[in-house]
């Protein structure tokens, strides 16, 4: 589905990504973990075209995309939800979703219908006509997910969608993400909630100081000494694997 080779990114003298290599197969749910500042969100932004890498190649469904504009990448079926929630605050909830659906819909009416369906999907039915800025943070995150779904992605990057959710909400979100995969959407998920991640993901990539330091099954990665040292910590890893 997607293959990333030799991605490097510097901001001035600061190296954020050194040499990132990985690939994700269609239908996988892959977790991306690592300490703050490891470069996870930067990597997502590069994949979506919001930031350009200094070097490296990204091949999405057989096509090189590292030089494409974000809207072209989105058109080709790759988009993300943001860690810092980005809804269109001046629009109603349904209008937010509708904007994403305009990418493929033939009319505003059709886009609205698709938007309503996506809102139902993420559990925002009943809030359609509310102002997006009036929603609670959790609902704004859901709204962003709905908008992303409306662009009909085949690969969706999810940046910390479970931060601030309670246990029941995490379960619902996990179920939703799994159902997206069942529909054929491949997912890469940045998440600090390790327990949730281990339930959700087929595979985990661990990023630290700009490179992938470990990858494999959630259990394997959570036992990896480098991951424990840089991210999880001894005690937490033991608790997680017990």
């Amino acid at each position: 589905m997607i293959t990333v080779r030799g991605i490097a990114k510097h901001f001035g003298g600061l190296t954020v990504l050194r040499d990132v290599n990985f690939s994700v197969a269609a239908g996988e749910i892959v977790g991306l973990i690592g300490p703050n500042g490891a470069g996870k969100s930067t990597l997502f932004n590069i994949l979506c075209g919001i930031i350009r890498a200094n070097s490296g190649e990204i091949t999405f469904e057989g096509r090189r995309i590292e030089h494409l504009q974000p809207h072209r990448i989105c058109e080709s079926g790759l988009t993300k939800t943001s860690q810092i929630v980005r809804v269109f605050a001046g629009m109603s909830v349904v209008e937010n979703a509708l904007v994403g659906a305009l990418l493929h819909a033939r009319s505003v009416a059709q886009a609205r219908a698709e938007g309503l369906a996506a809102l139902k999907r993420v559990g925002l039915s009943g809030s359609e006509e509310r102002q997006a800025s009036d929603l609670a943070l959790v609902d704004r995150m859901r709204l962003e997910l709905a908008r992303a779904l409306c662009t009909r992605p085949r690969l969706l990057l999810v940046d910390e969608l479970m931060a601030g959710l309670n246990a029941a909400e995490v379960s619902a979100m996990l179920e939703l993400l799994q159902s997206l995969r069942d529909e054929g959407i491949t997912l890469i998920v940045i998440e600090h909630n390790m327990a949730a991640l281990m339930r959700l993901c087929d595979r985990v990539l661990a990023l630290d100081t700009g490179s992938i330091i470990a990858q494999g099954t959630p259990e394997g990665v959570s036992r990896d000494p480098r991951v424990i040292e840089s991210y999880l910590g001894e005690k937490f890893a033991r608790a997680l694997n017990s």
Partner: protein, 331 residues
């Protein structure tokens, strides 16, 4: 749901348009009709600004360039080649759209204050260029449009008030376009850009192209207003059609009226143009100074109380009205 305008609203709009066309039946004074005609010209020009400045919040302070191009192109064609403004106007609009494309290419990567400042600087450059190109533009002295005869084909009438119907028709056309854009995919994309450009890109919006379309469409409207202005006043010079003052005025009309809705420019210009005229009409001395202070205070008051302008007032009133009945039902 706001997907389809109910019949009631459409009827209301039709009545409004008809009323606008019927103003001359009121037999108002020549002066009042002149002000009404000029108000129409500025409504159209400000509507052009709204498409990019209001809908997408790309605050351009160079819209006078479009007005000036419309005024100069039709006037130069008329004076030098005897081309009717009915042809010169659309040609001027095309020239303005082209200018918008070039300017857009230069400025759309900038944001916020930088965008505003660069559009202002570019507009000043255009003004200076026109002043230097004296042989064809008349330079700082400008060009007079010679009065040939009372003729619809030459768009020449003896009095400003005689232009009213044409100006009103142009208002209806411009606002119909602005309204159509607002509820079209383009309108939604512009609003998305206004709220969050990065999120708009992630939702698959070609931000550059979207801004460009709006900017060029707006340039066409403002340029047509410029042509009409030149015909009405019979005189075009850089100070009146290419100045920073005009750029700021157009932005102001739209912002005070409510730049995020199609009828904002109408509300803003209908309030401020007559007020501005009354102000200049109040003579010199303390009276004129006082009028200017009142004008300034009014602008400040509107922006402080309701940043979304007159349209913002109306919206909050509507919201209150909608909220009221449910309160009445509640025990």
């Amino acid at each position: 749901m706001r997907t389809e305008a109910p019949w009631g609203r459409r009827t209301l709009l039709a009545i409004g348009a008809l009323a606008l066309l019927c103003v001359p039946l009121l037999h108002l004074s020549d002066y009042t009709m002149r002000v009404a005609t000029m108000t129409c010209v500025y409504v159209v020009a400000a509507a052009g600004w709204t498409l990019i400045g209001g809908y997408a919040n790309q605050i351009t302070l160079g819209q006078a360039t479009m007005f000036g191009i419309g005024a100069y192109v039709s006037t130069m064609l008329f004076v030098h080649f005897h081309v009717s403004p009915w042809i010169g106007g659309p040609l001027g609009a095309m020239a303005a759209a082209l200018a918008a494309a070039v300017i857009g290419l230069l400025v759309f990567r900038l944001w916020g204050a930088y965008f505003a400042l660069v559009t202002l600087a570019l507009a000043e450059m255009v003004r200076i260029l026109v002043e230097y190109a004296q042989p064809i533009t008349g330079g700082p002295q400008g060009i007079s449009v010679p009065f040939v005869r009372n003729s619809l084909w030459l768009l020449q009438f003896p009095e400003a008030k005689d232009y009213y119907e044409i100006a009103a028709l142009l208002v209806i056309l411009a606002l119909a376009l602005a309204r159509a854009v607002q509820s079209s995919p383009l309108g939604y994309r512009l609003r998305a850009i206004r709220d969050d450009e990065v999120a708009a890109k992630l939702a698959g919006i070609n931000v550059f192209r979207t801004k460009m379309i709006a900017f060029m469409l707006g340039a066409v409207l403002t340029a047509l207003a410029g042509t009409l202005y030149a015909q009405i006043t019979g005189f075009v010079d850089p100070d009146s059609v290419l100045s920073i003052t005009l750029s700021v005025q157009l932005a102001l009309y739209a912002i005070i009226g409510g730049a995020q809705v199609w009828w904002g420019p109408l509300a803003g210009a209908a309030l401020l143009v007559p007020l501005g005229q009354a102000m200049t009409g109040s003579g010199s001395g303390a009276g004129a100074g006082l009028a200017k202070i009142v004008y300034g205070l009014l602008l400040v008051a509107i922006v402080v109380i309701q940043p979304l302008g007159i349209a913002g007032f109306v919206k909050s009133l509507q919201r209150r009205k909608r909220a009221a009945p449910s309160e009445a039902i509640a025990p």
